[in-house]
Symmetry: C2
Subunit: 316 residues, 2 copies
């Protein structure tokens, strides 16, 4: 929820002069997107999105992200397609920031998540994983197990002793028991409901590839399990989980190793989002323009997955 960088009309005009998409007739900063500044651009040719990459995105990662979107769009995945300037580059500079134009994706993200949505997300995630198989670039997941301890250490002074003990125990558990050999590839890593668009009840596209990286494919599914299959009161909804997992499995069948790993992957994913939220909570100045997300939600999810007795709990 933020516009971090104002773009002047003359800067925009100069920027668009290098593209073949016409002149701007409207340019509005939108409230979506926490990491970057996003504008809806309307030209004589149609609607586009313009993203300015702010300091939380490492510019060295941008060729991976934009290349991935190109790669996916070419393989028929509904996602924003980078618009290349006349010099062939999709990554350029606007108002002093790295910036890119992408196609505009129709649809709205579902505020209330249903079983129907969960099935569609499972299918789309599997399609994304298959399409990503031959993507040439690699980007390690900085927010996998090795990245969790620094987040924990940076947040400790803000948490109560009991929670501190619980999280320290979790970290030790994951550092010892995290899987090492599951099918891996490019994962989205942040497929929350505000990153999935629906139009007339059909999934119309997925957006926001700025956490995409290489990791276990089933870890991506575990992230979705947490993002899509809990109710607002943090109760797990097994019907939604079944819809998500079965739809995924239909497109990309899960191996036995991946099924067996689901509880630890889901529990680890819950810890990952709990820790980044905790860290942001501790380090976001209270007058920032960004809404801080509640870490407690993910603590409840973590505890649920720790208590899972059987894969049947997930509908597997």
């Amino acid at each position: 929820m933020a516009v971090y960088t104002e773009v002047s009309d003359s800067e925009l005009e100069a920027f668009l002069a290098d593209y073949d998409i016409g002149c701007a007739v409207s340019f509005k900063g939108i409230a979506e997107g926490v990491e970057n500044t996003n504008y809806v651009l309307t030209t004589e040719r149609g609607q586009y999105m313009v993203t300015l990459y702010e300091k939380r995105v490492d510019p060295r990662d941008l060729p991976f992200f934009l290349g991935l979107m190109d790669h996916l769009a070419e393989r028929g995945i509904n996602c924003p397609r980078p618009i290349h300037a006349r010099d062939g580059n999709a990554l350029r500079t606007l108002a002093g920031k790295p910036a890119a134009i992408t196609s505009f994706l129709q649809g709205m993200w579902p505020r209330r998540m249903t079983v129907h949505h969960c099935g569609a997300v499972g299918e789309a995630l599997a399609g994304f994983h298959l399409a990503g198989r031959d993507f040439a670039l690699e980007r390690p997941n900085a927010l996998s197990v090795a990245g969790w301890r620094p987040l924990f250490e940076g947040s400790r002074r803000h948490i109560a002793p009991e929670l501190d003990r619980e999280l320290a125990g979790e970290l030790e558990f994951f550092e010892e028991n995290w899987p090492t050999a599951l099918p891996a590839g490019v994962i989205h890593a942040d497929l929350f409901n505000d990153n999935v668009f629906f139009l007339h009840e059909r999934l119309s596209g997925i957006i926001d590839f700025y956490f995409a990286c290489n990791d276990f494919l089933s870890y991506d599914l575990a992230i979705c399990l947490n993002a899509w299959c809990f109710e607002p009161d943090n109760a797990f909804n097994a019907t939604k989980a079944r819809a998500l997992l079965q739809a995924y499995d239909k497109v990309r069948p899960l191996g036995d190793d991946e099924r067996q790993a689901m509880p630890i992957l889901a529990r680890g994913s819950a810890l990952r989002f709990m820790l980044t939220r905790l860290y942001d909570w501790a380090h976001t100045p209270p007058d920032a323009l960004v809404k801080r997300k509640d870490p407690k939600e993910y603590l409840a999810k973590l505890r649920f997955h720790r208590s899972v007795g059987s894969l049947a709990d997930y509908g597997l």
Copy 2:
């Protein structure tokens, strides 16, 4: 810079069912607008704006605002035109808030204001004043002289003794000397640069009528003098002022009384914006999602107008 109210997909669908503009294919909260929540809505028929009126707008004023936009649009003023639902009403309810759909205005507001813009604004403001002459509804200006003292009293504990003395003196001056008989009518009362759109260097429309009210027409011009004719370092730009005033005068000739009153109107307008900014500064929680505007900018403008010796300083 805010989305105060989230709208669910099902709420939006039910809302749009009462209109003849098709179904939503995109709905994005935008970062513009401090008082209300604004969404860009794209349907199969085109682009629209959806505004949800938040608590800073008195719902009893909405018929005035929406009626004014209807009235102006009918008279050829480029402004958002309220879209009426099938029952004839433009004012309806969305997500529990009063809400309206308006047409989408092309253009962008100028981040860097030029002499050319100032002339166009003067011309458009005069056209707006003429078009508003036969508007039937009335709304007194709650932010004229009588409204300034409460703002001052509510901000006093936050200001230094010297500034307190200066502002108290200003208030007394205005309470004794404010004009009582100048040509009056509907004024915009907030025609800042982010409320004026340009497309290919031509003024394409004016927006945001949520401060519109009945007051002296020349006071509206004085507000524009402050909003458009100072440089970022708060230096007055007489060339811009001349362009603004002469272009206005060409469409709606200023009377001698209005010309003579310009310094006091401009000085009063500066105090008005200084006081609302001061008040907001003092009363906005530091973690609010709204960027607070600097009151000092308007203190500098106030002092400039107090020092004005001759109308020639404004290009009159």
